[in-house]
């Protein structure tokens, strides 16, 4: 929390906080605004076009000059340096006398009233009160009267006072029964703030075994306690609690979650490795294993590719420079990456797409979609073609796809494939209606014309003739068909 002096200085120099004073800027702005208005009043008569500055005067314009968001932005943006002393945060050894006795009062001061506008004031009052009553007259006064000071609120009253933010002490609830009564009334009042307040007191005054045991049968309180510990990042106690409740999967997830905050990739990998032994469900366990395997691989690939990129040995890195390191990317992104840069590697290497597919049991559909997108991006149409070609049992070449050809066209088109390539795949769409609409969308004239011919629909063909370019090959083809007496048109 408390930084050393050197750290502060360091920070100060690099700080992006730059002060912004209204006095200077505002004047300039009002002057600017005035002149703008003056200009506008002239322009308004001459110019019919909408002018931005008109907006400033009307109410609907979002953040006009002078709004708070605008001003804060200015504070951050303005580059003027003000001469200030880094006078803060200094930690002085001298503390106000108030502080010394504060710790002794912890619980009562924690839950004391929140009198509007004078916390400091009321605190002093409490302090004065205590010192007088606690130290001086204690011997002479009967015990009952002392008790009276501590205030004798019942659990219900205490909860009510807590809700209203009035001064109250929880210290008098010492027996377990009283504590639990207090907790149960807080839960019954449906005020999460009060429930947590009571739980904080219980956490401080009960040993955890007892606390955990009692929370187990109090679900609402338990959830508040878990949330409180999550927010204060009391990971250790939270894990203990979950373990004692037998919530092993939650324990595993909570620990695994920490990997997200580890920046260094090697440390992260080691951490995920250490998570492998956690009590995940069998299904999740496999996912975490995959996470580890992937990270391990990414680190190897990244190191190799960084070197290759630097040495300039692989031409592909110059043609398509890498945008970002592959570390911590999802599996599919990694596969895509490897399809871009390592497509033709033998199956034995870590970066070979086929190897990745095998290791992580990627579905056929998923694999196809990713390879297709990557190879299309590189305009490697031969690879795309090869992807779909398979021989059937008669040795005939046939185009086959686990994805619908409509989706294939979609992916190709998004990677700006030329019409010739698109045409081939549009033609493979089974559904005639869909095929035509796709063909029209992507201007694959041949397919449209052939489909209309097959449908023997003269009307549609004549209609389509108007859409193709004059004197083009398509137009000729349509004319030929229309003049063909052999075709028995249906209309």
């Amino acid at each position: 929390m408390m930084k050393s002096k050197a750290d502060e200085e360091d920070y100060w120099n690099s700080s992006k906080f730059k002060a912004f004073t209204f006095d200077d800027e505002d004047d300039e702005f009002s002057r600017l605004k005035e002149s703008k208005q003056a200009v506008n009043s002239i322009r308004q008569l001459v110019d019919d076009d909408d002018d931005e500055d008109d907006v400033e005067k009307v109410s609907w314009s979002g953040e006009p000059v002078g709004s708070i968001s605008w001003s804060v932005k200015e504070t951050a943006a303005s580059n003027q340096r003000t001469d200030r002393e880094p006078a803060f945060p200094k930690i002085t050894t001298e503390r106000p006398p108030l502080n010394k006795s504060q710790s002794g009062l912890s619980l009562s001061s924690l839950f004391k009233g929140k009198n509007k506008g004078g916390n400091l004031q009321s605190f002093t009052d409490t302090l004065g009160d205590t010192s007088v009553r606690l130290f001086a007259p204690e011997l002479r006064k009967p015990k009952s009267e002392y008790k009276d000071f501590v205030s004798d609120w019942t659990p219900v009253e205490t909860v009510q006072r807590l809700q209203q933010g009035k001064a109250v002490s929880l210290e008098k609830f010492r027996s377990l029964q009283d504590k639990l009564l207090l907790l149960d009334f807080a839960v019954a009042a449906h005020d999460g703030n009060v429930i947590t307040a009571v739980l904080i007191y219980l956490k401080r005054s009960l040993c955890k075994e007892v606390l955990f045991r009692e929370l187990e049968s109090r679900q609402t309180a338990l959830r508040h306690f878990i949330h409180y510990m999550t927010e204060t990042r009391d990971q250790r106690l939270l894990l203990e609690l979950l373990r004692s409740l037998g919530r092993t999967e939650d324990v595993a997830l909570l620990q695994y979650k920490e990997n997200k905050s580890i920046k260094d990739e090697n440390k992260r990998r080691d951490f995920v490795k250490s998570c492998l032994s956690l009590p995940f469900s069998p299904e999740d366990s496999a996912h975490v294993q995959d996470h580890y395997t992937l990270l391990e691989r990414q680190i190897i690939i990244e190191a190799a590719d960084q070197r290759a990129e630097r040495d300039g040995k692989m031409e592909i890195f110059q043609r398509f420079p890498r945008k970002a390191p592959i570390l911590n990317m999802p599996l599919i992104t990694t596969l895509y990456y490897c399809c871009l840069y390592h497509y033709n590697e033998s199956e034995g290497t870590y970066s070979s797409p086929l190897n990745i597919r095998q290791t992580f049991k990627i579905s056929e559909k998923q694999y196809f979609a990713t390879v297709l997108a990557a190879r299309a991006k590189l305009k490697a149409w031969a690879d795309v073609d090869a992807l779909f070609t398979s021989r059937n049992w008669l040795g005939m070449m046939k185009k086959r796809s686990p994805l619908s050809f409509q989706r294939v066209v979609d992916i190709l088109q998004k990677n700006s494939a030329p019409t010739q390539v698109l045409q081939e795949y549009v033609g493979l769409v089974d559904d005639a209606e869909l095929r035509i609409s796709l063909a029209q969308k992507h201007k694959c004239h041949d397919i449209v014309i052939n489909t209309f011919r097959d449908m023997k629909d003269r009307q549609l063909l004549m209609e389509y003739r108007k859409k193709v370019e004059r004197g083009s090959a398509e137009e000729k083809k349509i004319d030929q068909l229309l003049n063909n007496v052999q075709i028995r048109w249906k209309n």
């Binding site: 929390m1 909408d50 200094k90 001061s109 929140k114 506008g117 947590t196 996912h287 992104t333």
Partner: protein, 604 residues
């Protein structure tokens, strides 16, 4: 309400008073620290603050410099610092280095004991003054009031922390003392019930001065009563603008692609904007037609100038031109926004997405929908959209078949990262994305049987399996409340028949349908089956049934956990139909992305 005669809609109470209250409170807090001071504002409080005050207000009260509280140490040359922050432990931790300064911390809207405990543990309790900026309600428009508590949803529904219940109760209490007394209170949901009780208690504690009521009935509803509606893609203009450009506190920033210039413009979107107020509730397919009609009218108005003499032109310029030009600007902005929406929506295969959503709502072609979702995931299209579809599938189908769940989850993790294991765990906890338990598969059969046999048999079958908590029972609810109109009928979106128009006629939002039904019946009588399917916690309290004045037609609907613009549009439609006016109070405006983002675990 009972007599469905159309009447003119009643006058809405003046909520600007709420803004004045918040501003006065703020000024009071600033004056606690006399003299020059620097003001630090938590980033997500800037927009709400902007709605009630501006820089000159702050300057008047000797605020020197303004800073955003960010993820870095706090540095200021001033000896007096004022902080406006939310009661978050992480933010409070940042205050700790501000020793030796006069410090006042204003907590929006309430302080929590947990934060005080942290301050005490760190030894700064008592050194700093903390106070509450009891700014409970921010009117975003004539009929929308927000509590500006986006964390309400996650805290309450995921973490099970009831810390905001009293705040919601206090907000209701404030409305009650300013615009009440309320005559009827209805509600459904656990949190609604608790909020109602908290409010009752506050009423008992305080005193109510007798006054003329301006608000008649109140309806409280938990967000988890209806997850289907906020998961659907919005197609009403205001909702679409929120989905795409993100409306913040009633203000949107249109980027260069909309303004067709090189800069962005921030625009307030509310009923003051004459163009927007006419299209905000329209189905997007009508918006273009409306805008072009408007453009033609504008042209005609401009053209009037031709053939005017000098005197007439003078009058025209001084009286009409300004209004016309303002309209011109608004019109070009909204046309720009619509174009940009069109572009984005065609690129994303929006039509296919909508089709899948409609299939899921209807319970039709589920296998095809699943493979659409699968492809969506495979292609690594937006994480949120894939999640949204998965959740919609789960909520409408009462969970996924184990085989589907495993395979979709595995593919999701492959596409978007294994870290999302945590997201899946959260979604399961909330019941948004679950695996069907063995035995539950019968409910799917039941819904199929229900279609074949009559409703009674289906009801009995449902009985047998409804003991399991956290089931959405969407199919049964949809059938009983008629949420999905028959698809063979044409739906004319220009002349909406019912609230289904907000989803292209495919689905009446469950939340709004419930409100309609309860108000019509003056309670839950006859809806027992429905409330049972919704896991109960319904209530109806008639405080005073005699009232028969305008206030009776002003109905306050409070959404605990957020509501969408589409729901607000649906309620506006309902209000027009029934001759009443709905005032929406919500913990925050939400949509599918905000809902799901709140459930993701972001790196700490």
């Amino acid at each position: 309400m009972a007599h469905g005669v159309r009447r003119d809609s009643p006058k809405v109470p003046d909520f600007s008073l709420l803004k004045r209250l918040a501003r006065d409170q703020l000024i009071y807090l600033l004056e606690q620290l006399p003299g020059k001071k620097d003001l630090f504002i938590e980033a997500d409080l800037m927009s709400p603050l902007d709605r009630i005050a501006n820089v000159s207000t702050l300057k008047q009260h000797e605020v020197d410099k303004l800073y955003k509280v960010e993820n870095k140490p706090i540095i200021s040359a001033s000896d007096q610092l004022c902080f406006l922050i939310r009661p978050r432990i992480q933010t409070v931790n940042k205050m700790l280095i501000c020793k030796n300064k006069s410090l006042i911390i204003c907590i929006f809207p309430v302080q929590f004991y947990a934060c005080e405990a942290v301050m005490e543990e760190q030894g700064i309790f008592g050194d700093v003054t903390t106070d509450e900026w009891a700014f409970y309600l921010l009117p975003l428009d004539d009929d929308i009031i927000s509590l500006e508590l986006p964390e309400f949803f996650r805290d309450n529904f995921l973490a099970g922390d009831q810390r905001w219940v009293r705040t919601a109760g206090s907000a209701l209490h404030l409305l009650h003392s300013l615009y009440g007394p309320f005559s009827k209170i209805y509600g459904i949901g656990r949190c609604s019930k608790m909020t109602y009780e908290s409010w009752r208690k506050q009423v008992e504690e305080g005193e109510q001065r007798p006054r003329q009521a301006e608000i008649g009935s109140v309806f409280l509803i938990d967000r988890d009563v209806d997850f289907v509606t906020p998961l659907c893609s919005q197609v009403v203009y205001e909702g679409l603008v929120d989905d795409i450009f993100k409306i913040k506190c009633g203000c949107v920033e249109f980027g260069p692609d909309v303004t067709s210039s090189d800069k962005s413009i921030k625009v307030m979107l509310n009923s003051q904007d004459k163009v927007f107020s006419e299209i905000r509730n329209e189905h997007f397919s009508n918006v273009f037609g409306f805008l072009s009609q408007k453009a033609r009218n504008l042209q005609t108005a401009y053209d009037k100038r031709q053939g005017m003499d000098i005197q007439q032109i003078k009058v025209f310029v001084s009286e009409e031109l300004k209004g016309l030009k303002q309209e011109h600007r608004l019109l070009s902005l909204h046309i720009g926004a619509s174009e940009s929406i069109m572009k984005k929506k065609t690129k994303q295969d929006f039509q296919e997405l909508l089709k899948t959503e409609h299939c899921l709502l209807e319970g039709f072609e589920i296998r095809e929908s699943i493979s659409f979702i699968e492809e969506h995931i495979n292609r690594q299209v937006s994480t949120i959209e894939s999640l949204k579809l998965l959740c919609l599938l789960s909520v409408t189908e009462n969970g996924l078949l184990p085989k589907d769940y495993r395979s979709l989850k595995a593919q999701f993790l492959q596409s978007y990262g294994v870290d999302h294991l945590l997201t899946f765990s959260n979604l399961r906890q909330l019941g948004l994305l679950v695996e069907q338990q063995p035995g539950e598969t019968l409910t799917v059969m039941e819904s199929k049987v229900g279609k074949l046999v009559n409703d009674k048999t289906a009801g009995k079958l449902t009985d047998a399996f409804s003991s399991l908590a956290k089931k959405s029972n969407f199919r049964a609810l949809s059938r009983k409340l008629n949420l999905v109109p028959k698809s063979d009928e044409e739906y004319d979106l220009r002349v909406p028949r019912d609230m289904a128009y907000i989803f292209s006629g495919a689905y009446v939002p469950l939340s709004c349908k419930l409100i309609e039904q309860v108000l019509e019946r003056d309670g839950w009588t006859g809806l027992e089956e429905i409330s049972r399917l919704l896991n109960g916690h319904e209530f109806a309290v008639i405080v005073d049934s005699k009232q028969e004045n305008d206030a009776d037609r002003i109905i306050l609907v409070m959404f605990l956990g957020g509501c969408t613009f589409s729901e607000i549009s649906a309620l506006r439609f309902l209000g027009k139909e029934k001759g009443c006016k709905f005032i929406v109070v919500t913990t925050a405006i939400t949509n599918s992305s905000r809902l799901l983002e709140a459930l993701m675990d972001t790196p700490v």
